[in-house]
Symmetry: C2
Subunit: 386 residues, 2 copies
């Protein structure tokens, strides 16, 4: 992985766009606490987030570069970023784990009767101890806390050319790893061994790390798409699905591929075709200005018009610094789709009760419509005969 995977201008543009949103919403500063939000505005990229021991705070002021209030163990790495205002403490400290430093920074940036924005809506959480948050709100009063979910989401959901290139590179890694599946997913192999080999293939093809692998295998279809692998051996007649969020330079891909072990039955072939056509319908229909719910409707109608039933949950979502981002392709999400959004198209088809087939592709929406970032799945269900 290259150090400093983006230019300084990239970060300046991101933060300026966020600050425009803040100004429009009357937010004097923004508090960010999650790995994705911190990486987005600073470039601070580390797997150390895997440790829940320490909170990390980034304050985005009304103008200028963000301020980092972080554990001293991160000073070396944050010091290589474009951030110059860095305040550190020896964490974890049970008596004051950065709260005083954070409140001081907030009080500097937010006027006494001003507002601090914090993302607090759908698909967000506050990665800091709740008791520290409560203490902080008291210390910074009468400053108000307001919901900054839109500020962050409307900014992050439009990807720059540099970000799209990163996601495309992650997709290409997964494309190449999927090409190898037939070499390790034969009849008789346990599913957990297949999952390990698939992760090895992703690393060999250039993933920095593999944050997500899921899938399923079962006679004529699989039951769910989020379980870890069992040790059950693949059998003739199984449909195998592998799904991955592999990461390169901090950006995810998220798509799956299906394989028949031996010769599939007609129901599986048919479900594959239905999902394939539903994806094609979405690819044709996609244009800036339609909503997430309208795109959901396109895929849903395609599945229903082919005489099948949708299955498996929402039919796609945003993608980028995390495995899933907003919006959600559901009937409830009326987020406008805009040029620069990266989305997954994920139509699922019910084959029989408890058996589904799910397809997934990654695309970027442009003024001219959808452009594939993943290589399009083959039009017929691939078969592995060995």
């Amino acid at each position: 992985m290259a150090e400093g995977v983006f230019t300084r201008a990239e970060f300046e543009t991101r933060v300026a766009r966020m600050q425009n949103q803040m100004a429009a919403a009357g937010q004097d500063a923004l508090l960010l606490t999650t790995p994705a939000d911190v990486f987005y505005v600073t470039g601070f990229l580390t797997r150390f987030w895997e440790s829940p021991a320490r909170p990390w705070y980034i304050l985005v002021p009304a103008s200028g570069a963000p301020i980092a209030v972080i554990p001293a163990i991160g000073a070396e790495l944050m010091g290589r970023s474009w951030i110059t205002d860095m305040r550190t403490w020896d964490a974890p400290n049970p008596t004051d784990d950065g709260v005083s430093l954070l409140c001081d920074a907030i009080c500097e940036q937010v006027p006494t009767h001003g507002a601090l924005g914090i993302p607090m809506g759908l698909e967000t959480h506050l990665r800091m101890p709740l008791a520290d948050y409560v203490a902080c709100t008291a210390k910074i009063a009468p400053r108000r806390i307001v919901d900054a979910t839109d500020t962050v989401q409307r900014t992050r959901e439009i990807k720059s050319a540099a970000e799209i290139a990163k996601i495309k590179a992650s997709c290409a890694i997964a494309d190449r790893a999927f090409d190898r599946v037939a070499t390790f997913a034969q009849k008789g192999r346990p599913l957990d061994a297949v999952f390990r080999d698939f992760q090895i293939a992703l690393l060999s093809e250039g993933a920095d790390w593999v944050s997500y692998v899921a899938g399923g295998a079962g006679q004529g279809g699989y039951g769910d798409v989020i379980s870890p692998a069992s040790s059950r051996a693949l059998q003739d007649g199984d449909i195998l699905m592998l799904d991955t969020g592999a990461v390169r330079d901090g950006y995810f891909c998220d798509f799956d591929r299906n394989f028949a072990i031996g010769t599939p039955d007609d129901a599986a072939r048919r479900a594959y075709d239905v999902a394939y056509q539903a994806t094609d319908a979405a690819l044709s229909a996609l244009h800036p200005g339609m909503t997430a719910a309208e795109l959901h409707h396109v895929m849903c109608q395609s599945i229903l018009s082919q005489g099948a039933q949708p299955g498996g949950g929402r039919l796609g979502h945003g993608l980028g610094i995390t495995l899933t981002e907003w919006p959600s392709l559901t009937p409830h999400d009326h987020t406008p789709l805009r040029a620069g959004m990266v989305l997954t198209l994920e139509p699922g088809v019910e084959i029989a009760p408890g058996k589904i087939m799910v397809h997934e592709e990654n695309i970027v929406l442009t003024a001219a419509g959808a452009q594939l970032l993943s290589r399009r799945a083959p039009p017929a269900l691939p078969e592995i005969h060995r």
Copy 2:
């Protein structure tokens, strides 16, 4: 990975221990939201947590099995656990993302003037949208919310024999992967390629997934221990450190190993020896009843008495379902160490300004003292000559 990696009795015992803590603290129910806490009481293990889109709620009542209030996409997997009271909704739902279901369950389990416990202290966070939390507190009033950090931590920090066996298995996987390092970490190889090969080795040796790899390499020592790898090629005179949290059946190891590329200088050899002796001092001194701060003091004094300076942050921490757990081996943490705790010993030595050497081992504390879970590092710095 085997499905159902623990017996039902294991979960019953865990929850009963937690309920004893709840009763002593006057908590009528406990709300758990993080992957580790949910896995601990239910056995629900999935990499799907990588998606921030959906909250997951587990309510531990005063007696009996937990109640799951979860997105419908998890029903199949949760249905294989010992949980029978499961309430689901189609998430994400922008108008009510499980909040009504959650509040109903809380109101059933907590008397009107009772208390709901939520972990809100050091090393915790609430994995649900803050706005939903605020709405929930209003809906369940006058029920009180109280801090349940101790309830969870005093329960989870004492590992069962089954848990210790899982952590030991993860450590053994890393031991075998470290044995392979000399085959892929030669002079001239870029550090990012070494990181990839190390992850491949961990998977090949049986890791279900590799949630954490970090490390460093530099002339005579490294500067920090949390950065991703650069593409710099290893050189003669480098000290290479690799650190991993590999996962098997949901349990982590967390230890590192150091290697000299070519012949190390005397300062590096000396730092290795100092850290090695500091670990030995900790292994000898460890006994139930001492505190985390006292164990920190033992290692610190060992380093100082050898004429060196500690470097690199806290000198160890708890370990189990997450890469790091409480307590912290710092002067500030007075948590009593008890039999059944699994800890990392992580003495760091400053070689020169900006250059450190960090050792790490994993142990379980028994009535008779420390037992190693990782294979003890070699007493002299291993050299890779190729």
